[in-house]
């Protein structure tokens, strides 16, 4: 459905952020997109959403195709219109709008009438019952977890066929993370929405994804079906934090060597 070919992105005319990445997201699948900070995951999402030109970024090479159509020159509103929505990192709900208004803003591109809107509105509240109790509250006053739900609900209102989530677990409690991942999986299954999941929490992401890409320094260094990736020794060591014997190593003991280096030099 979505295909990225050899994409190169430059910021401020000098900083090369993406060095030719290729990626594919099939219909109704969950794809995990892993990598360290600054690897270029968010930039990739921005490139897909068409936000780059507004942030001094530029696609210098490569294409993004959506259902066979090259979309990398499209304006953001056109991309949303095609059915690609993004849940931005850090939630970014409109704090001074109420929860309900936030949900309404999500349906901005839709032109299919009041009834359809009503139907989706009810459905989204069914997915996130926590929100229906807070409809009249300013979004800035609801808790972090509710904000994350609202951000997903808002993106859902655009009736996407591809939903891109940028670190939905950021700063959330484990229980909430599981809840949100559950809902993501549910939406994916019931609405047949493809999900592109950018995550630090590699374990969780790979657990629900079918396929995973691992990115470093603007390049995709590894990809494969989730279970294959989870078997991979490097992934285990660097992304899942496990030793080869499947036991998690303790943070209290890591990398003493690195500290000692200082005293040696």
């Amino acid at each position: 459905m979505l295909r990225i070919n050899n994409l190169e992105v430059v910021y401020n005319d000098i900083i090369l952020v993406l060095r030719g990445i290729s990626l594919e997201a099939p219909e109704a699948a969950i794809i995990a997109f892993l990598g360290s900070n600054g690897a270029g995951k968010s930039t990739t999402l921005r490139a897909i959403s068409g936000l780059l030109p507004y942030e001094d970024g530029e696609i210098t090479k490569g294409t993004i195709e959506y259902r066979g159509e090259a979309v990398h020159t499209f304006d953001p509103q056109r991309i949303v219109g095609l059915g690609i929505t993004q849940v931005p990192e850090g939630r970014r709900v409109f704090a001074e709008l109420t929860v309900e208004e936030n949900i309404r803003v999500g349906a901005h591109t839709r032109r299919d009438g009041k009834e359809e809107f009503r139907r989706d509105y009810d459905r989204v509240l069914a997915y996130f019952p926590a929100l229906s109790r807070r409809l009249r509250v300013q979004a800035g006053f609801v808790s972090g977890g509710e904000q994350q739900m609202l951000a997903i609900a808002r993106a859902f209102m655009a009736r996407p066929s591809l939903m891109m989530l940028d670190e939905p677990s950021l700063g959330l409690a484990p229980l909430l993370v599981t809840e949100i991942f559950d809902i993501i999986r549910k939406i994916n299954a019931e609405e047949r929405v493809s999900v592109l999941l950018v995550e630090q929490n590699a374990l969780m992401a790979l657990a629900i994804a079918e396929y995973g890409y691992i990115m470093e320094n603007g390049k995709i260094v590894l990809d494969g079906p989730s279970h294959k990736l989870m078997e991979n020794e490097d992934v285990k060591e660097f992304y899942l934090g496990m030793k080869s014997d499947k036991e998690r190593k303790s943070f209290a003991e890591v990398k003493h060597y690195k500290r000692r280096k200082r005293w040696l030099s």
Binding site: L51, P76, P88, R92, E96, E101, R104, G106, G140, A158
Partner: protein, 296 residues
């Protein structure tokens, strides 16, 4: 007698307050959508008045068509200004944007001087000069129209922002531009539209003001008083801007009458600022403004 004077002062104050309110409304419209504080708003008002003056006197158009054509022209002009001058500055520090709009104000004022000269010009009066009596207070027809226009616009914009899709998208854009992009909102169009709408409001204010005074390139100075009105009402509140304008209009008229002998002539000119100072001490975000939610 004393009561009648008070009533007269209030009624005239309301008419002038409506002018401030309309200019303040223009400020709010742009601020709400683009987070930009447009100091050139009074100059847009002046430009609107001059344009319709030219259409009426030089092209001999009747008042109403001339007024409508002016609205269209002003929409085009302000959209162009937004695209050429303001858009590149979105996201820059507050001060930079303020200064650009101040610069813009200078350019418009200078151009007006260049084109129309510095003489006071008499605006062709579309309304009868015969005043109307209202509970014993006299009021010009032009003043009545100003008050009515303000009330109407208040209702229109209140509904617009609360319920319409475009209004909602403007509010969303104002709050977080890049997320607004992700919602599929055409942010560029929202920015341009907010300037266009603000210029329409400004033109209405300018033409109405001109009908009960006269035209001159420094008529924008009256618009400076919209700033206190705006602050009083809270920067992002449509209702606040209008109420703020009316409060300032009435207060300064009353001060001009009752306080002049104690505080010197021209006290009405600074009443607005004194009120603002006091209000800011008590409510640092205006009477109707929302306190920004700040999370650490």
């Amino acid at each position: 007698m004393a009561l009648q004077i008070l009533l007269q002062l209030i009624v005239t104050g309301l008419a002038w307050g409506s002018v401030y309110a309309l200019i303040a409304l223009g400020f709010v419209l742009i601020f709400k959508a683009t987070d930009i504080f447009n100091f050139a708003q009074p100059e847009l008002m002046m430009l609107g008045a001059y344009l319709s003056f030219t259409l009426i006197t030089a092209l001999k158009l009747p008042f109403l068509p001339a007024f409508l054509v002016t609205l269209v022209l002003m929409t085009v002009i302000s959209s162009l200004l937004e695209m050429m001058v303001i858009r590149p500055l979105v996201g820059e520090p507050v001060l930079a944007v303020i200064m650009v709009t101040l610069g813009l104000a200078n350019v418009i004022r200078g151009m007006t001087g260049l084109i129309w000269g510095y003489e006071e010009l008499q605006f062709p009066k579309p309304f009868s000069a015969q005043p109307i009596m209202l509970f014993g207070a006299a009021i010009n027809q032009a003043e009545i129209f100003t008050i009515l226009a303000t009330a109407l616009l208040l209702v229109v914009f209140f509904i617009f922002f609360k319920y319409s899709r475009a209004g909602l998208s403007m509010r969303a854009t104002a709050e977080d531009t890049s997320t607004a992009f992700l919602m599929g909102i055409n942010v560029k169009r929202v920015f341009t539209a907010s300037w266009a709408i603000a210029s329409v409001v400004a033109t209405i204010a300018g033409v109405l003001l001109a009908t009960f005074t006269y035209l001159e390139p420094i008529m924008g100075h009256a618009g400076l008083k919209a700033l206190p009105a705006l602050i009083l009402g809270g920067m992002d509140s449509v209702v606040g801007a209008i109420l703020g304008g009316l409060i300032i209009g009435v207060a300064e008229n009353l001060a001009g009458f009752y306080l002049e002998q104690y505080l010197g002539g021209g006290i009405n000119e600074i009443t607005a600022y004194v009120i603002v100072l006091i209000v800011m001490m008590v409510r640092p975000y205006g009477l109707f403004g929302t306190k920004e939610i700040e999370r650490v």
